[in-house]
Symmetry: C2
Subunit: 418 residues, 2 copies
């Protein structure tokens, strides 16, 4: 009997370490060639499966695959394409099964966040209903750190490190300038619904930096916010504000939405940072600077944390091992054993309990006034940003790999995506 | 006869490596204690001299001073406080001489850009006119790289490296997402009058990234810009835009100024990036993301270039050596001997030829269409971003030093700044 092949795809926003998970999957499959066949990757995520646009990862050398471990972005392409309910999207799910059958695929590894956990679960359910044997394993990945049942999510630790390091460095800059120039620095970070990334900015407090953190979990109150900034500037001469893009008012309006509309009636394309900066100028008169890190933060492989890069690799490897043990509709999870020394092990969670659940910051990780993080939160974050997993450099630039991405010959009729 | 002391101050926007120059000054003075006395630093730049708020750097251990080499920001504080003409600001210049006389200061080391070269020159002229013997040496520092007569400016190489690395990483992210999501990434970088920093973004072309660079030196033409972006997206599926904050229309209006006004009549606090992003959406319909790096870029000591950190240190050391040789009203310059292998030596330029001169990008460093850099420009930039001069880390965070900054006892009456 021929060995079953594996399908691997990257889903949603990519991270600095999602390719480390791909590397973990591919290397672990290669180490188990007596039990699994090839790894076919989906070009541009699940779209690659729907359109039978598969990449033969066997065409890449071991050395090239090893370089994935240090390369940011999604090496096979990712996508934002959510397969919704089985009822309304049955045609797509059935197509997936057809493609898998045509290419002898018995393992489905899907590397993404909450949405893709849901897709992964539905693939496993439909395969069962259609009596097509496939094991669907979800590999956790999200800079937002909002998947449930895992202590943390691969991708988060590196963003957290980037935000903490960048906030510290910019704060030292502002501290130098505060006497005659900039007194407040505002840094906008990602996290539409959960404040984990913003929380990492709170770590600079341990380095003597007065910082205000604005979380999506805490409704924004302008008056209290300005009072806090004013107090810190009075005491320290300057302060840093780390604002989550998802920070919003009690009525749900995002801060980023309150800008004026342009001549075409579009909302101002500002983020939350310029809005907060304007409040500070209007309310307190302080000079400010603001930055929006956007993709820079989630792509910053140059400052990836060793913990994160290692866990991303291990999550990929763990997914293959779970498949080899016969599991399906599960996700490998990271279970923390202790903070200091930091110890963890891999566990497993059923996708029925992962799909569509968002893990927000617990209230006890946020300080009572809502503008900072607690010691408990710091204990949680510190091990995740530990270690500098530097890429190699050549002539001053990091050496990142671009794969050949050789397509697998198609066997089926074309499929119209919509 | 008592040895003369030295005054050292940091001026204008700080950089990731200005403290390396401070380290170079202090360590070189300490190595020449038979010829120079103490280094007194100005707290918050020249304001420290005017207000007789001097810092005794002898109170810091050798180990602490050595740590300055890897610490971003301005360790003694900087300021934006320009001493203008001798005529209108004679009172300030005379006060400087009084403070220097009161503390036995015979060397004036001023670490800054074009404005501070001018101040440094005036101090030397007034000292001569007042028959107070002082040697004034300017130490080059500016992320803008716009000082004349030196091949490059300490501070620039590290920003250039940050911009090149960040643009590459974010571009790999966009490339992954382009099929169903973001097709254009816009990164705004510093450089109000000169496009050197933006030029560094052009280096990603060598890594297979389609990139458009917008320089202050080239008047912005929306139609041609959109045509170029459209062409690159059609060919590659995505593109990256690196826009200088100083990019402007032919009539001088900055791109950043063209946003709508808010309810208070203030100009939109957006940078150039959101404006460019909006153009792309309105003109081409592409999904985009934008980032404004702001202070993150000039504070990013974690990704400082070895060439830059080394030259910053050497510029400080060279300034002391020039003083010991009897020079005044000069600035140490970096003279490039060859590109590959990169070789340079320190020279010297008279401040009369440095003060108030801005070095823009030469036209032959910008591609003919105005949207990229030439091979000559790349040859210029590559050695400047070479090497990774990493700081030490502890528990995932860089180890940056904060000095004690012990004040020197005051001897004069207080001075009213204005």
């Amino acid at each position: 009997m021929a060995l079953k092949n594996a399908f691997y795809a990257q889903s949603g926003g990519v991270t600095a370490v999602i390719n480390a998970s791909a590397c973990g999957v591919i290397e672990t499959v290669r180490a188990n060639r007596d039990r699994i066949g090839k790894v076919f990757a989906g070009r541009d995520g699940i779209i690659g499966a729907l359109t039978e646009d598969l990449i033969d990862t066997d065409k890449e050398s071991a050395a090239t695959i090893a370089q994935l471990r240090h390369t940011p972005g999604g090496a096979f392409g990712s996508c934002r394409y959510k397969l919704k309910s089985l009822e309304s999207h049955r045609r797509e799910y059935q197509r997936l099964i057809e493609v898998f059958a045509a290419h002898g695929i018995g393992y489905f590894f899907y590397n993404g966040g909450g949405d893709s956990a849901d897709t992964c679960l539905k693939v496993s359910q439909l395969a069962e209903a259609m009596d097509y044997p496939i094991q669907a394993i979800h590999i956790p990945k999200t800079v937002d750190n909002d998947l449930p049942l895992t202590d943390c999510c691969p991708g988060f630790g590196s963003v957290a490190k980037y935000v903490a390091v960048s906030a510290l460095e910019a704060s030292l800059d502002v501290r130098s300038m505060a006497r005659t120039s900039t007194k407040v620095f505002v840094l906008e970070v990602m996290g539409r619904h959960a404040g984990w990334i913003a929380a990492a900015g709170g770590l600079v407090e341990d380095h003597g930096i007065p910082v205000v953190v604005l979380f999506p979990e805490i409704p924004f109150e302008e008056e209290q916010f300005l009072a806090r900034v004013s107090e810190l500037v009075a005491r320290h001469g300057f302060c840093t504000v780390v604002v989550s893009e998802g920070c919003h008012h009690a009525d749900g309006r995002y801060l980023a939405q309150q800008g004026p509309r342009d001549a075409f009636g579009h909302e101002q394309l500002g983020g939350a940072a310029p809005v907060v900066a304007r409040m500070i100028r209007q309310g307190l008169g302080h000079k400010f600077h603001w930055a929006v890190a956007d993709y820079l933060q989630r792509a910053a492989r140059h400052i990836a944390s060793t913990t994160d890069a290692k866990q991303a690799y291990e999550a990929g490897a763990a997914a293959v091992k779970l498949a080899l043990k016969g599991h399906s509709a599960v996700m490998p999870t990271i279970e923390r054993i202790s903070d200091k020394p930091y110890r963890y092990r891999f566990g497993m969670a059923p996708l029925t309990e992962v799909a569509n659940v968002e893990k927000h910051m617990p209230r006890h990780y946020i300080s009572e006034d809502g503008f900072g993080i607690t010691e408990g939160c710091k204990r949680y974050l510190r091990p995740l940003i530990r270690g500098e997993d530097y890429p190699k450099y050549k002539d001053g630039m990091p050496v990142y790999v671009t794969l050949k991405n050789v397509p697998v010959r198609k066997k089926l009729a074309t499929f119209d995506l919509h």
